[in-house]
C-alpha cells in the first residue's frame, strides 16, 4: 500500500492530486478484474470482488471521519447493518428497487447517526471510542431481537434488487459493476467534501479545535455533520453487501466488523481516502489468504496487527505523522 500513501509532505492540493491518480489506477484495475476472472474461468472471484468493493466503500466512509475528523468510531458496522436490513425490510414488502433501498438505508443511518453522534461527540478520546462501540452494539442487539427478520439467524433474500426496473444485479457481473460505480461515486463525493469549505473546517478541527473555536467555529456541528455523512455512505456498502450475499444477519454489524473497518483504514493510510480502498483490498485478501492456509487465520491476523503496531516505530500513526498526514494527541 505504500505506493498509495507515501507521498511527500507538502501542500494539500498536490498531495491530493497524487492520491486521485492512485485511485484512478485502482478503479481501472477493478474494472479489468471481472473479464480477467472469467478468462481464468473462475467467476467466483467476481463475487469476492464485489464484497471487497463494498467494504472499500465502508472504509472510505470511515476514513472521512477517522482520517479527516480524528473521530475513532468503533461502531461503524451498525451502518452496514442499516443498509443491509433496509434491503431485507423493503424486500419483505415487495419493494426491490435499489434506489429506494439505498434511500431507506441512508435515512435509517442518518437518524441513528444524528442521535448517537450528538451524544458521543459531547465526549472525546477513550470515551468516544467506547460510546460508539456501545451504540454499535445497541444496533446489533436491536436486529437480533427483530424476530420478523430471523433474529440471530438472519434473513435470506429471494432475489437481488432491481435497478430502475431492470434486473441488472441478477448477474454477478452486473452487481460487481454497479458496486464499482457506487464506489467511484462515493470516492468522488468524499473527495469533493474533503476539498470543500466544509472539509477544510473539519480538517482544521482535527488539527486544533481550540484555534477553530477562536476564529468562530463550533466544532460540534461540523463533526456531527461529518459523522452523519459517514454513516450514510457506510449504509450504501451495507445495501450492496446484502445483495452480494443475498442474506442479511446481525453478524454484519458485530463489533469485530467495526474493528476490521478500522484496520482497513489504518492499513491503507489514515486520511488519504485512496488508501482505505487499498486497505480494504489488502485486509480482505489477507483474510482470504490466511483463511486458505489455516483455519486459525484469526490468530495470524491478530499477530500481524499487534506486530504492525508494536514494531513500526511509534506505530502506524507515527509513520503517518512523519508523513504529515495525522497529528497525535499532545
Amino acid at each position: 500500500m505504500s505506493d498509495l500513501t507515501a507521498t511527500a509532505p507538502g501542500r494539500a492540493a498536490p498531495r491530493m492530486a497524487g492520491r486521485v491518480k492512485a485511485a484512478i489506477i485502482l478503479f481501472i484495475l477493478f474494472a479489468l478484474m471481472p473479464p480477467l476472472a472469467s478468462a481464468l474461468d473462475d467467476p467466483f472471484y467476481v463475487l469476492i470482488g464485489t464484497r471487497i468493493l463494498a467494504y472499500a466503500i465502508a472504509a472510505l466512509a470511515l476514513d472521512l471521519i477517522l482520517g479527516y475528523g480524528a473521530m475513532v468510531s468503533f461502531g461503524h458496522a451498525a451502518y452496514l447493518g442499516f443498509g443491509s436490513y433496509a434491503v431485507a425490510i423493503l424486500s419483505s414488502y415487495g419493494i426491490n428497487d435499489l434506489g429506494l433501498q439505498l434511500l431507506f438505508g441512508i435515512t435509517l443511518s442518518a437518524v441513528f447517526a444524528l442521535i448517537t453522534g450528538a451524544i458521543s461527540l459531547r465526549t472525546q478520546g477513550v470515551y468516544f471510542i467506547m460510546i460508539t462501540l456501545a451504540f454499535g452494539q445497541m444496533a446489533f442487539f436491536f436486529f437480533i431481537s427483530l424476530s420478523a427478520y430471523g433474529g440471530d439467524d438472519g434473513y435470506g433474500l429471494s432475489e437481488r434488487s432491481t435497478l430502475m426496473g431492470i434486473d441488472i444485479l441478477q448477474s454477478d457481473f452486473g452487481l460487481y459493476y454497479v458496486t464499482l460505480a457506487l464506489l467511484i461515486a462515493m470516492f468522488v463525493l468524499c473527495h469533493r467534501i474533503v476539498m470543500s469549505r466544509f472539509g477544510r473546517v473539519l480538517t482544521g478541527i482535527r488539527e486544533n479545535p481550540t484555534r477553530m473555536e477562536a476564529i468562530g467555529y463550533s466544532p460540534f456541528r461540523y463533526q456531527l455533520t461529518a459523522f452523519i455523512i459517514s454513516g450514510c455512505i457506510t449504509s450504501v456498502a451495507g445495501v450492496l453487501l446484502a445483495n452480494q450475499a443475498q442474506f442479511v444477519s446481525p453478524a454484519f454489524m458485530s463489533w469485530h466488523r467495526s474493528g476490521e473497518l478500522i484496520v482497513m483504514v489504518v492499513l491503507g493510510g489514515v486520511g488519504t481516502l485512496t488508501g482505505p480502498i487499498g486497505g480494504a483490498v489488502a485486509a480482505l485478501l489477507l483474510e482470504e489468504w490466511l483463511g486458505a492456509l489455516s483455519e486459525h487465520w484469526r490468530l495470524w491476523f491478530g499477530i500481524f496487527l499487534v506486530l504492525m503496531v508494536l514494531f513500526s516505530p511509534r506505530g502506524i500513526t507515527g509513520v503517518l505523522e512523519r508523513m504529515g498526514i495525522v497529528r497525535t494527541r499532545q
Partner: protein, 249 residues
C-alpha cells in the same frame, strides 16, 4: 467603534481566586494594556473575556451587547477575537490556509460540501491582505509548522486580523520575539490603532508604553491600578507590587 465593558468578573480554581472581582472599561478605539507579575492571572482573564473559560460571576459586554453567556465562537462572530500566548495554529495547513479559514468563518456558509475551497478567490484575497498586514504575505504557501517562531507570532496576528475584529485581545503577541523583530512588530501594531479596540497583555514594557493609551495592573487576580502609562508607572502601589522587578522602573 466598539468598546469592552467588564463588570465584577471572578474565577476560582478550587480555593484559589485567579480573577477577583475585576471591573474594567475599555473605551472604543483604545489600546488598553494589562500588565502584572507572572501568575497574576492575565491569561486567565483573557480566556474569560474570549469565552474559552466560563466565569464564576460578573459580566462581559462588547458595545451594548452582553456576551457573558456566549461561547467563544459566538463571541468571535460578534467581533471579539483573540490571539494566543503560546502559538496555536493549524500545523498541517499553509499560512494562507490558516488565515483563509478565519476569513471563511465570517463569509458565507461553511456548510458547503462542493466546490474547491483552495480555489476560492474571495477567501484567498482577503487572507492574503491579512497576511500582508501582518508582514507574512511572502510566506503564504509555506506549511505553518515550517515557519519560524517570529513568523508564527505574525501568523497569529494575521489570523486574528482575518476574523475582522471590533475588539482584539492580544495575549503576549511579542512572546519570544526580540530586538528588531519586536520593534517592527510594535510599529505594525501601531498602524492598527484606531481601527479596532485592543486589549494587550505584554511583558515587554517598551512595547506597552509605545502602544497603550491606558494601562491596568493585575496582581493576584485583582486590578490594583488603572490609568495613563506615566501615572501607573509612578503609582506607589504598583511599584510595591513589582518590587524586585525592574521592568517598571
Amino acid at each position: 467603534m466598539t468598546g469592552l465593558d467588564v463588570k465584577n468578573l471572578s474565577k476560582s480554581f478550587g480555593a484559589l481566586k485567579v480573577t477577583d472581582d475585576v471591573s474594567l472599561r475599555v473605551e472604543p478605539g483604545e489600546v488598553h494594556a494589562i500588565i502584572g507579575p507572572n501568575g497574576a492571572g492575565k491569561t486567565t482573564l483573557i480566556s474569560q473575556l474570549s469565552g474559552q473559560l466560563a466565569s464564576d460571576a460578573g459580566s462581559v459586554s462588547i458595545g451594548d451587547r452582553d456576551i457573558t453567556h456566549l461561547s467563544m465562537p459566538e463571541r468571535v462572530k460578534l467581533g471579539l477575537a483573540r490571539s494566543f500566548q503560546i502559538t496555536s495554529i493549524l500545523p498541517g495547513f499553509t499560512a494562507l490556509e490558516n488565515v483563509a479559514l478565519a476569513v471563511q468563518a465570517r463569509r458565507g456558509s461553511s456548510f458547503r460540501f462542493f466546490g474547491n475551497v483552495a480555489g476560492e478567490a474571495e477567501l484567498n484575497e482577503a487572507a492574503m491582505s491579512a497576511l500582508a498586514e501582518a508582514g507574512l504575505d511572502d510566506r503564504a504557501e509555506v506549511l505553518a509548522k515550517s515557519l519560524s517562531h517570529g513568523e508564527h507570532r505574525r501568523l497569529e496576528l494575521a489570523i486574528a486580523l482575518a476574523t475582522d475584529p471590533k475588539v482584539l485581545l492580544l495575549d503576549e503577541p511579542l512572546a519570544g520575539v526580540g530586538g528588531e523583530d519586536a520593534e517592527a512588530f510594535v510599529s505594525r501594531l501601531q498602524t492598527f490603532k484606531g481601527r479596532f479596540t485592543m486589549v494587550l497583555i505584554e511583558h515587554d514594557m517598551d512595547a506597552v508604553f509605545a502602544l497603550a493609551d491606558r494601562v491596568s495592573v493585575l496582581v493576584y487576580g485583582k486590578l490594583i491600578a488603572t490609568g495613563k502609562p506615566e501615572d501607573v508607572r509612578s503609582d506607589p502601589a504598583v511599584r510595591a507590587a513589582y518590587l524586585g522587578e525592574e521592568e517598571v522602573a
